[in-house]
């Protein structure tokens, strides 16, 4: 059993993509954020004395790396989708992931999400937000007959933000939580649209689907739910994201 | 004074007046005076480092000289004098002054990307702007002169050293020079191949070409030269007809130079044994 092995070894290896403010990112050389802080609380309580080895990986390889047993669990905000849930087990949700659009402040040509028709937009390769964007675009094409002019795929969201600021693209599909700190620090450049473009989705942490990992997932779920009940989760959301979400304990079947 | 020199110079092929040359702190030529008459054959000998090559290279301004004057066919080489100060000429002006001078190098310096004929006609085509047909006619004649008409289409790396050097001579000849300079033209050759190059040079000499030849081939010098010049330490130490110079050297340095040479070549020489 994976959990037993971890306890025996005294070490758990977790994978993180530390370029995903405010969930996971690097500050002063340390990986910090909503996720890491929550993880620490859970591990301190249920895996005391176990050393945490945290790998910082690009997002594209993070789930395949989990299958490849490069690490025990993915502690990074992963949008729970049908395709992913088929291959991996997710924890109970840690935050809402519903996708919206980031645009340039004062860009009057985009008032509703449908206004991105005919414009270049972008998101991150392999991300659920990209998938949402593509589905939204398909809907636009079907309904209005005209989709976006181009969907650009970036290796990281930071590059997408930079390109939005530069004007190469007109909007970035991203979850609200992620852009909150960005919009807060650069309100003169970035503006997040209230209206979302996809179904309600949630972020969770992921582990392998084998029975081997069941006890680890159970432990994580227990820890997360306790934090939620105690109100710690809301506190952390306020601290890192700036607002709180109403969160289900179990999302059941993913919406996409 | 300069006017007088200029008039005098018109008759000589090359005139050197107090030519001096320094590399850094190393004075390589020390006030050399030398007149090369038209149709004269001059051989320059001397120990390694005595300045022979530098002298030759100065005569065509491949090396600038620092002091004195050099006149080629009466015209000051490499510099122009205006208001009493002298200014370096442009490359084009210098090339014009030495246009009748050809040079053959120790290392042949053929261009490897052209055939023998290509080497010979390149300057005719590119510098003189001749048509291919005109140039090839002259080029083939020049190759004929050095006995290499049949190698016209060979690239240099397919030729022996002796053949390469003969092509180099043909290349110089094609420009129809009145003066030819040679810097150790046979030193880079295998012993067997020296003869064929000397033969071509002998032939040029017999046709009245003005020649200045830096060489170690004493036999050739003795046979062909009107005058042999012995250099040492950047100066001309002794000069004169080869018979006099080789049999009755005046300066001890020349005597010693000849002794060293003889002790190697004469002792047990085949001519003594077979003689």
């Amino acid at each position: 059993d994976l959990l037993d092995d971890i306890k025996k070894k005294g070490e758990i290896v977790v994978a993180t993509e530390a370029r995903f403010q405010p969930f996971e990112y690097v500050e002063d050389g340390k990986i910090v954020g909503y996720g890491p802080e929550m993880m620490k609380l859970v591990f301190d309580k249920y895996l005391p004395g176990v050393k945490v080895k945290q790998l910082d990986l690009p997002f594209q390889g993070i789930l395949p790396g989990l299958s490849a047993k490069k690490y025990d669990v993915v502690i990074t905000a992963v949008t729970i989708t049908k395709a992913r849930a088929e291959k991996y087990t997710f924890t109970t949700p840690i935050a809402e992931a519903t996708t919206g659009l980031l645009k340039k402040t004062g860009d009057d040509s985009i008032k509703t999400p449908a206004d991105i028709a005919g414009k270049p937009v972008g998101s991150q390769t392999g991300a659920a937000q990209l998938q949402v964007l593509k589905e939204f675009n398909a809907k636009l094409e079907k309904e209005g007959g005209k989709g976006v002019s181009e969907i650009k795929e970036y290796v990281g969201f930071d590059e997408a933000y930079a390109d939005l600021a530069a004007g190469r693209i007109k909007a970035v599909a991203q979850s609200g939580a992620n852009v909150a700190p960005l919009v807060k620090s650069k309100p003169e450049t970035f503006e997040y649209m209230k209206e979302t473009i996809g179904p309600k989705t949630y972020f969770g942490w992921a582990a392998r689907k084998e029975d081997d990992s069941a006890s680890l997932i159970a432990l994580l779920n227990k820890g997360i739910l306790e934090l939620k009940k105690a109100g710690t989760m809301s506190e952390l959301q306020t601290k890192w994201i700036g607002f709180t979400y109403d969160m289900p304990d179990d999302i059941g079947e993913p919406t996409m | 004074m300069s006017v007088l020199r200029d008039i005098g110079a018109r008759d000589a092929a090359i005139q050197l007046r107090g030519v001096g040359k320094t590399f850094g702190s190393n004075t390589v030529l020390k006030g050399v005076d030398l007149d090369i008459e038209r149709s004269e054959r001059v051989c320059v000998i001397g120990p390694s480092g005595s300045g022979k090559s530098t002298l030759l290279r100065c005569m065509v301004f491949l090396e600038t000289y620092d002091e004195g004057e050099i006149y080629v066919e009466g015209r000051l080489l490499g510099y122009s004098i205006s208001d009493g100060t002298r200014k370096k000429d442009s490359e084009v002006q210098t090339a014009n002054v030495r246009r009748n001078v050809g040079m053959v190098f120790q290392q042949f310096n053929l261009w490897p990307h052209m055939t023998a004929l290509g080497n010979v006609i390149a300057a005719l085509r590119i510098v003189k702007g001749m048509t291919r047909a005109e140039a090839e006619k002259i080029g083939r004649e020049a190759l004929e002169t050095v006995g290499l008409a049949h190698k016209a289409d060979a690239y240099p790396d397919r030729l022996s050293g002796g053949q390469q050097q003969r092509v180099a001579i043909a290349r110089a000849l094609a420009m129809n020079p009145s003066i030819l300079l040679f810097d150790e033209p046979t030193s880079a050759l295998d012993p067997e191949l020296v003869g064929e190059v000397l033969e071509v040079m002998r032939q040029l000499a017999s046709q009245g070409m003005t020649m200045v030849v830096v060489t170690h081939e004493m036999g050739f010098a003795a046979e062909v030269a009107d005058r042999v010049i012995f250099m040492d330490g950047g100066s001309i130490v002794e000069a004169g007809p080869p018979q006099r110079l080789f049999s009755k050297p005046e300066s001890p340095r020349l005597a010693q130079f000849l002794d060293t040479w003889k002790s190697r070549n004469a002792s047990g020489s085949v001519s003594e044994i077979t003689g």
Partner: protein, 218 residues
Amino acid sequence: MLDFTAVIAQLPRMAAGAQTTIWISAAALLCGAALGLVMCAARLSRNIFLRALAAVFVSMFRGLPLLVVLLILFYVPPNFGVETTPLTAALLGLTLNTAGYQTEIYRAGFLTVPPGHAEAARMLGFSRLQIARHIFLPQIFRVTIPALTNEAVDVVKSSGLLSIIAVTELLRISQQIVSSTYRPLETYLVCGLFYFLMSTAVSSFGRFLERRLTPKPA
């Protein structure tokens, strides 16, 4: 327009990243030198099997982008039950990559030593190993310094790709800084300066060695 204040605050972190870059590069270069020499010996050996092996090795690692080698080394072996940590994958990838090049550098070096040098040694009774050790190696080292210097600069530069497999070297740290400062141009310019300083240091050292080991002409 350019504002470096945010980046300057992060200089210590970038310096730390540069340190990682330096030690990983140095380690890869050394391991690569050992492997390269072995491969070079194989390439020059009389055994046709060894020669073919070395030829494939060289062709492969000179023909594959380092980025791809790293991706393969990082993600593929675990599927066959072999564990690779990011650091071992990084070191292994860089080492294999530079070894491919160093093999060819050493081989070219070997070819510059006139065969007469080996014949003279054979005539004096040297064994093959003694010839390699006492006649070839010292001379090869001298003539290969310029090429090795270039290779060292290349390794330092290409170590930036290790960011892809989670090694927090200079470039990865710069990306992290961009994430928090939203100042890509300034950060990357400073990062470039770091790389330039490292490359210049390496090539200056190479030139210094070259000058030290090449006797000045009389």
